[in-house]
């Protein structure tokens, strides 16, 4: 399961609302204890998709590298990625799956009419063919 503490959760929702009607994306830093991941900090990253961003996002590898360095400096781990789905449910789309990485947890926030609606967490597999839901608390 993954638990997101209050401050990073508020930052993620604020980022998703501010980016509406476009998709936002960012990194989640924290710690892992057995099967439980705890997010202690969220880092907003730039949506680098070249084109309409209402239905697409892309992370620059350089930005992820910087997020990983920040995590190491703060004695935390890069444990996941978040992004928003404006005016859509928080499902893991075909595009999400085809561009995923099995190393990380993916949290999707549904933003409807500019306001947070709901969120889900997913664990994509190696072959990018399935992404089971993971229990998410915040």
């Amino acid at each position: 399961m993954i638990h997101i503490e209050n401050d990073p959760w508020a930052a993620m929702v604020a980022h998703a609302r501010a980016s509406y009607p476009n998709e936002c994306c960012g990194a989640m830093l924290g710690s892992t204890d057995g099967e439980t991941k705890t997010v202690r900090e969220a880092i907003a990253l730039q949506n680098a998709f070249e084109g309409a961003q209402a239905a697409r996002y892309e992370l620059r590898p350089e930005d992820l590298l910087a997020a990983d360095k920040a995590a190491r400096e703060r004695h935390m781990d890069l444990i996941g990625i978040y992004h928003s789905h404006p005016d859509c449910d928080a499902y893991f789309s075909k595009t999400d799956l085809q561009n995923s990485c099995p190393w990380y947890t993916f949290v999707v926030l549904s933003i409807r009419k500019g306001e947070f609606d709901h969120a889900n967490s997913f664990l994509p597999n190696f072959d990018q063919t399935d992404a089971p839901k993971e229990e998410l608390t915040y």
């Binding site: 239905a55 697409r56 992004h83 499902y91 789309s93 190393w103």
Partner: protein, 96 residues
Amino acid sequence: MAKILIPTPLRQFTGKQDSVTVPGGTVGEVLTRLTAEYPDLRKQIFTDEGKLRSFVNVYLNDEDIRYIGKDTAATTDGDTLSLVPSIAGGTAGGRN
């Protein structure tokens, strides 16, 4: 010798080490040595055909190896290799 920074989810395959230092004069040699010493890492990084997985980028210090010779890029003592995933997505394409 080059130091490879190990992403958190892959540390289970390196005895919980967050970095590993192995010998090698090129990026390819370093990654080959890395996956020889930690064979469970191989599936995470390479396909069965021995190619880097589509979602894996390798950075030599701060440079993407695709632009500096790929696996033939030279490494020297003190260099750092990072494994960085390619990640994108969005609602385009609809539900899976």
